[in-house]
């Protein structure tokens, strides 16, 4: 009886409020350009704002309106959310959350979770967090120790929390949670600890797990239907077939096979599909894991309700360079591909290729290099969809304990997680990039739960024979697969870009500059301001009481800030590599600060 009663009530509920889904709220909030209600500004991951008070003509007059210290050192990624008259900002471990009133910049509430510090070393070497999510009066925090927590946005009171993974196995979280429909989506980090990647969907009201889809393993655990899940095959879409992952691994390696999921997800409400990328296969030593290692390094399209995989596309089969596929998936409409307007998914991969796919079908439309330095593959074969690897840069072919030199890009990728922006006015993408190459020497490693499982030493340095810098800010035509413009930077551009209806594009630099350029000519630098520390956070914008603001976290850290370089053969080798990022010491020190700009 009780069951029948509940069923009737549920039906009634549906009939009375047929579209009472949380995404209605988030869609409403993100549809209001005066707010910044998702980390990427909207569900399409566009990092675009319709605000136009700050223009290319007046941006030179920007002033600092107010600043706020998080009181935390280490790398500050992500950015502020603004909903109504409140701003929400987070910090790296210990993952503090502050709610700040926009009227008086007072801290309305503060939340600091208690986390076991043993999680810090498993995040080696930086304890970044890419920010908060908002829906229906709740703030969602994905803690480093994998606890996902919902807070009352007005008071900071804990509403529910759930464990998403186990740090003892090397599972941690750095990603922002994402809200699509009535679920909060999160992933997992730990590709360097042999973690098996997955995406999990939790109910926003209760924290109850709705579904979980792995990146590797048996079809049912990946939520792949062998007859219905499609992939690009011989110039067309075809079903993946049975055991599409298991067949591409030796033995049980898939159980510790990586494919982690710490990037920026997007959602198409009409197709009801969410999109994200899976990371590198574990270990970094390719010799230890023969096969294509599916579905690591893959673009995924899943139904948000069931988690069922609609289509997949593997960018880097059998990775040999740590080219994680986690970077953001940007959804854009009406992009001109070979004379036809297409509704596409655009992805700038770590491997140096930018991919344009039909986001409904998964059809591969464009795959071109977005940095001319990229040399590990000549091109992507458009029929097979596979990169054509250059033998001398194949760390697999060269073998274990051999140093493969001069591979471009470096493991950092031509771009890492720092998200690009889409400008609907000209349909171009504004991309913060790395211009770094590497030497890569794989070696044999044994797996031990919770211990590093890397298996390669790397040395990184600025792309040789170029401008000497380690970064570029570029404009990309995703229909043609061509760089429209490129602006050289001394260091990697490790900050999420912002484009506005005012015709400006802004980004941060590792030295700590906020720079705004003319969106129609990015070599016209219109504004520059030195924040207290290097910037690896993303620029967001909002309006309060008639005034447009731009806010960004500074706080050097992350992979680029750490300046990883290793595998030196002689004492003098690789000084360029170490020297490259080490020179950052001349410009910046640690320390997390939110800086907010406005016109006078």
């Amino acid at each position: 009886m009780a069951a029948k009663f509940a069923y009737t009530t549920a039906l009634l509920g549906c009939a009375l409020i047929p579209s009472a889904f949380a995404n209605d709220d988030v869609l409403k909030q993100t549809g209001n350009a005066r707010q910044w209600a998702m980390q990427a500004g909207n569900m399409q991951n566009q990092r675009y704002s319709g605000l136009k008070q700050i223009t290319k003509d007046n941006v030179k007059n920007l002033r600092v309106a107010w600043t706020f210290s998080t009181g935390v050192l280490r790398g500050h990624e992500g950015g502020p959310l603004v909903i109504g008259d409140m701003l929400y900002i987070h910090s790296p471990f210990p993952n503090k959350v502050f709610a700040i009133g926009l009227e008086d910049q007072q801290i309305k509430w503060k939340y600091e979770p208690k986390q076991d510090p043993t999680v810090i070393p498993v995040m080696c070497c930086d304890t970044v967090n890419r920010g908060l999510a908002y829906a229906e009066g709740k703030i969602f925090l994905q803690q480093a120790d994998t606890t996902l927590v919902a807070l009352d946005a007005k008071t900071g009171k804990e509403l529910w929390k759930v464990k998403n993974g186990d740090p003892k196995k090397g599972e941690t979280n750095t990603n922002a949670p994402h809200i699509f429909k009535n679920k909060v989506f999160t992933g997992i980090s730990g590709g360097e600890f042999g973690v098996r990647g997955f995406v999990a969907a939790y109910d926003i009201n209760t924290g109850k797990l709705a579904w979980k889809g792995y990146s590797t393993g048996p079809d049912n655990e990946m939520l792949i239907d062998p007859g219905k899940t499609m992939t690009w095959t011989d110039g067309k879409m075809a079903p993946v077939g049975a055991d599409s992952s298991l067949k591409t691994w030796q033995g049980d390696q898939w159980k510790i096979g990586g494919g982690t999921t710490w990037g920026w997800y997007s959602y198409d409400p009409k197709l009801n599909l969410m999109y994200y990328g899976s990371g590198n296969p574990s270990t970094w030593n390719p010799v230890q894991r023969p096969g294509d290692n599916k579905w690591s390094m893959t673009i995924w399209a899943r139904d948000v309700d069931s988690g069922q995989v609609k289509w997949v596309y593997q960018m880097t089969p059998h990775d040999e360079w740590d080219f994680d596929g986690v970077n953001e998936m940007i959804l854009a409409d009406g992009v001109n591909v070979k004379g036809k307007p297409r509704n596409v998914l655009v992805h700038f991969d770590r491997n140096g290729f930018a991919y344009t796919l039909d986001r409904a079908t998964g059809e591969l439309l464009v795959a071109e290099k977005y940095d001319p330095a990229v040399n590990w593959a000549t091109h992507v074969d458009m029929k097979t969809g596979r990169p054509q690897v250059v033998a001398k840069y194949s760390t697999q072919a060269n073998g274990q304990d051999v140093n493969s030199k001069g591979v471009c890009p470096a493991a950092l990728g031509s771009k890492d997680q720092q998200p690009a922006a889409f400008n609907p006015a000209n349909k171009h993408f504004y991309v913060p990039t790395n211009h770094v190459c590497m030497d890569y020497e794989p070696f044999k490693v044994e797996y031990s739960a919770g211990q590093p499982y890397v298996g390669a030493t790397l040395s990184m340095y600025p792309a040789p024979g170029s401008h000497g810098g380690m970064g570029n800010f570029i404009v990309w035509d995703a229909g043609a697969g061509k760089i429209v413009q490129s602006k050289a930077e001394k260091f990697s551009v490790w900050s999420g870009a912002l484009v506005t209806a005012g015709g400006v594009a802004c980004y941060g630099t590792l030295e700590g500059y906020v720079k705004c350029v003319d969106a129609n000519d990015i070599n016209k630098e219109l504004y520059k301001f030195k924040t207290p520390s290097g910037i690896i956070g993303n620029l967001n914008t909002w309006e309060y009481k008639g005034k447009q603001y731009i806010g960004v976290l500074s706080g050097i850290g992350g992979w680029a800030g750490i300046g990883m370089a290793a595998g030196l053969e002689k004492d003098t080798d690789g000084l360029g590599a170490v020297g490259g990022y080490k020179e950052l010491n001349k410009y910046t020190q640690l320390g997390g600060v939110l800086t907010v700009f406005a016109l006078p």
């Binding site: 076991d116 510090p117 043993t118 810090i120 070393p121 498993v122 080696c124 070497c125 930086d126 304890t127 360097e192 070696f443 490693v445 044994e446 031990s448 739960a449 919770g450 211990q451 590093p452 890397v454 298996g455 030493t457 040395s459 750490i562 300046g563 990883m564 370089a565 290793a566 595998g567 030196l568 053969e569 002689k570 004492d571 080798d573 690789g574 170490v578």
Partner: protein, 119 residues
């Protein structure tokens, strides 16, 4: 070839490590370097042990006793980001070699980077 042999520890007759030409070392020290490499210690301590997010081991090894070194490896310093490696078979089996390698680096007798076995 210059053979560098450090001062013997305590009453032991065997030197802590043997090194020739800066990059050829005894078997145990070589395994110590391989352990350093496999556990990705350079991610925090730098490729030349000079320190990055973690402290310089060139400095630390001048200060720490062997017992303190072992304790740090086994128990970690989690609040500072140093893992406990008592769960790693490779570390527990090669603790002496790892100590010898890092001591050799700290003494300036062993070069950074790849090593070979001294035959």
């Amino acid at each position: 070839m210059l053979l560098v042999v450090p001062h013997p520890v305590a009453l032991a007759d065997e030197p802590l490590y043997k090194v020739e030409g800066g990059n050829k070392v005894d078997k145990a020290t070589l395994e110590g370097w391989r352990t350093w490499r496999a556990l990705a210690c350079e991610r925090c301590h730098g490729p030349k042990q000079e320190g990055l997010v973690g402290p310089s081991l060139l400095e630390s090894l001048r200060r720490l006793t062997k017992d303190e070194f072992k304790e740090t490896l086994m128990k970690g310093r989690p609040e500072k980001g140093m893992p406990n490696f008592d769960g790693s078979k490779m570390v527990t089996e090669n603790l002496d070699g790892l100590y010898a390698y890092l001591k050799g680096r700290s003494d300036g007798a062993i070069q950074p980077g790849r090593l070979e076995e001294l035959k």
